[in-house]
Amino acid sequence: MIDAGRLIVERCVAEDGSITGEHGVGIEKREFMPLMYSADELQAMQDIKEVFDPAYLFNPHKILPTRMPTPEPLPEPGAPLTSTFAPVHAAEAAEAIRAWVAAGKSIRVAGASTKSRVLTPSNPQADALLLTANLKGISTLARDDLYVTVGAGTPLNDLQEELAQHQMFVPLVAPWAAATVGGTVASNFNAPLRIRYGAIRDNLLSTTVALPNGRVIRAGRPVVKNVAGYDLPRLFVGSHGTLGLLTDVTLKLAPLPRMRASLIAGIDNDHDHTASDRALRLGLELQRLRLVCSALLVCKGTYVGSEAPYALVYAVEGLPEDANEELAQVQRVLEVHGVEEIDRLEEMDGSGVWANIVRNSGSTDATTLFRIGVPPGELLNMHASIASTFLELSQVPKPFVFDIASGLLYFHVPTDSLAEIERVRAKALALGGYGCAPLHAGSTTFDPWGYQSEGMDLMLILKARWDGTGLFNPGAFVV
């Protein structure tokens, strides 16, 4: 009987599926793991196990096969390449990494450098630049199976244009036109539409990675239940290229929505609340209406033609009957609360509003983009702290945007006011959140991340496990 089970899962693996969907590996399927994963991929999982539990105290002998296959020895590293290299596939990237590491050269990875201040800061210790520029194009477009595999260096906009011809899209938005798919995934820069379609971590099914140790793994598979064993694909989301170079990514596809529309409401003071406070309260009230909502934003200074200082944006997309009903409900709530200035805009994309604000007031030498994340229910408390700080920071007239549904706030801070912003950051931490400047290169006086994960020890051990020399993308992230 187990022979039959083995043949069945072998058949699944042959179709690029998984040996398990939702029942786990456990005892039953641990010996099947080598059917799905290479020795290098299993080794990466064993590394994870030993980072967390080196003594094998917790649930030993599960997931990993009793006899781990031995990874093939790596070839001797070649001579170091020139200081800039753009591989055309993962194996070539791994070869370059091995050569550079053997020569003791530090490596910076970069896509389009749209977030260059974090991904390629002027770091005198980065000896070599590894680019994704030649990792471009769609390799698989599976419309029936709702996934696309694409080179990590492909501009996200190019991918969306291609997919639109098939009435599909990937639910990712980057504020910068040249942003690559790989860079968007590695930086975990989530647009408001994540509330409708899931975050980047939820849309990444699979990725091929050249690890800092010079090995190549394929993490995940192009199916909804995409992993057996440890969830390696998500580990690379938001790791800012410090755990390896993503060479291709497989993303979920979604059908282009049949309808997009938004309500935009001008919000001014009322008797009890300032305009910003009122806008936020209304936004939180609307939270419970979200069914086909693709953005719920409060913005400052973006409502063209309105005298109101704040705008509340509620975007929907999906079937027309759902979209119209939800906007009607939103309109009723706003009217009950005395909001008079409400416009409906067809085809307006809420994430586009967000992207515009983030991009147009993007980091310059004079300002830096700051992001705060708090539990959505704490946004009012967070706002109170920001409002008091803003009064003191009179130089902060730049637009800012609350992504209410996600509990995120983006705004721009004058670079010479970063010391004061620490007060805001401290409040965010106290509320169970964080504050970071994801595009800031950092300095001796300002930490762009400002967050000490309780898992930092584990992160450091994992980083060291795959990048023992610390030469891979140093300084790009907290690790």
């Binding site: 009987m1 187990i2 039959a4 069945i8 058949r11 699944c12 179709e15 690029d16 599926g17 969907g21 939702e22 029942h23 786990g24 456990g26 005892i27 039953e28 099947f32 539990d53 003594a55 105290l57 917790f58 649930n59 599960k62 599976a142 029936d144 199976d145 996934y147 989530n190 899931g198 939820d202 598979r221 199916v223 909804v224 239940k225 992993v227 440890y230 969830d231 998500r234 580990l235 938001g238 790791s239 755990l243 939180l284 419970r288 209406l289 979200r290 086909v292 009957e321 759902d322 009903e325 994340g373 708090v374 539990p375 229910g377 509990g407 169970g432 959140g433 964080y434 994960s453 898992g455």
Partner: protein, 396 residues
């Protein structure tokens, strides 16, 4: 692993937690010899913590005594994940099932791992929220087990699996240190350790709290049952529905053999003369349901559905689902046990793979029935175990 003999280990364990939180008598331990899967493993003891501090004490003791710990929720898992295969102590979470915080405005929930899916469902739906993962064992299954196995369910085609809803975890590491990773906010600047722990089957740490994000409970739902001559024809309908840009909340498929087994047991009115049947459920605002179903009806007709049945009320909907959810009971009438193979393929390959699965089972002279999540390509062939005493089914 441990150098203590079993009696010494049990005496030592008795000093870690109060007596009413420790089980060591052999008769009681038999209960923990298996989960809902096939692989056995007798633990040397069971500890029932009531707090994170209890878990820390257990881990510190186990680390010192070199005794393996196996976290366990309700024991409804199917792959042996909660079985103490090589002895050691099972950490059983039935007394840690509280809701710690419910942010009704922001839509998030913080809970202990022993809470069941059904308890979560009841707590949040009353306030208009929805926690989508819904494994078939949800009446008993614990959230901790769901997180350990990254559980799904019929609605994950549209709504995703457990990992899509876990935003933060509190866990006890092998050192005894308690860590919070992620939280109730999103996109913390750290490696996604929440994702690593989710689906790690209790092999990396012991989870003691979880933060979950919730979505709005869909205001309305409509359910249909369509029958086809073959699994291939039903699969074609699934592909056409997806190609039309529709996203049903669920698309579950049953083959003829499954339906006949179920019908004998549950009398759910399943189309037992058809080759396959699809349960299709759409959700959304009431105004969108009829147009969605009208489109689906056209597709079903074009893909040669033999019969289409649309639930007119909750009673009819429950009747359609009754068949699908009666699998375990119905199977028990046919054979003392079954081996449920859980594999996943890209959905367009489902029909071809199922055909091959039938051939594999025929070649091995095994009786098999099919029920599966057609929307996400998750096949669940149920292979009947006719005589557990004579078949070597429990060793891989």
């Amino acid at each position: 692993m441990t150098t203590l003999d079993k009696d010494a280990m049990r005496r030592s364990l008795a000093g870690v937690l109060p007596a009413n939180q420790i089980v060591t008598d052999p008769i009681s331990l038999i209960t923990y010899n298996r989960d809902a899967g096939l692989d056995p493993g007798m633990p040397d003891g069971v500890a029932i913590p009531t707090s994170t501090e209890d878990v820390v004490r257990l881990v510190q003791w186990a680390s010192k005594a070199q005794v393996p710990l196996v976290a366990r929720g309700a024991g409804t898992g199917l792959s042996g994940g909660a079985v103490a295969e090589h002895g050691g102590v099972i950490v059983q979470f039935s007394r840690m099932q509280h809701i710690l915080a419910f942010d009704q405005r922001g839509g998030s929930l913080m809970v202990q791992p022993g809470i069941t899916n059904q308890q979560i469902d009841s707590a949040v739906k009353a306030h208009g929220w929805y926690y989508p993962p819904d494994p078939s064992s949800g009446r008993a299954a614990s959230l901790g087990g769901n997180i350990a196995e990254n559980s799904g369910g019929p609605h994950c085609f549209k709504y995703g699996v457990t990992t899509n809803y876990v935003t933060g975890l509190q866990a006890v590491l092998a050192t005894g240190k308690v860590v919070h990773v992620g939280g109730r906010a999103l996109d913390y600047p750290e490696y996604d350790l929440v994702a690593l722990l989710t689906g790690s089957e209790g092999t990396l740490a012991i989870i003691t709290e979880a933060s979950l994000r919730l979505i709005r409970n869909p205001p309305a739902v409509k359910t249909a049952l369509a029958s086809f001559n073959s699994v291939e024809a039903a699969s074609q309908a699934v592909s056409r529905i997806i190609a039309a840009g529709l996203v049903p909340a669920t698309m579950e498929m049953m083959d003829q053999r499954f339906m006949r087994v179920i019908e004998d047991y549950a009398h759910a009115g399943l189309p037992i003369n058809a080759g396959a049947a699809l349960i299709i459920e759409v959700d959304g605002y009431p105004a969108s349901l009829d147009p969605q179903m009208a489109e689906i009806e056209v597709i079903l007709r074009e893909t040669n559905a033999i019969e289409q049945r649309f639930a007119k009320d909750e009673e009819e909907r429950a009747r359609i689902w009754l068949g699908r959810k009666s699998a375990a009971g119905a199977m028990a009438r046919l054979a003392p046990a079954y081996y449920l193979v859980d594999g996943t393929v890209p959905r367009s390959k489902l029909a071809a793979v199922l055909s091959d699965v039938s051939a594999i089972c025929d070649n091995h002279e095994l009786r098999v029935v099919y029920v599966f999540h057609a929307g996400d390509g998750n096949l669940h062939p149920l292979i009947l175990i006719e005589d557990p005493k004579t078949k070597n089914w429990c060793s891989v």
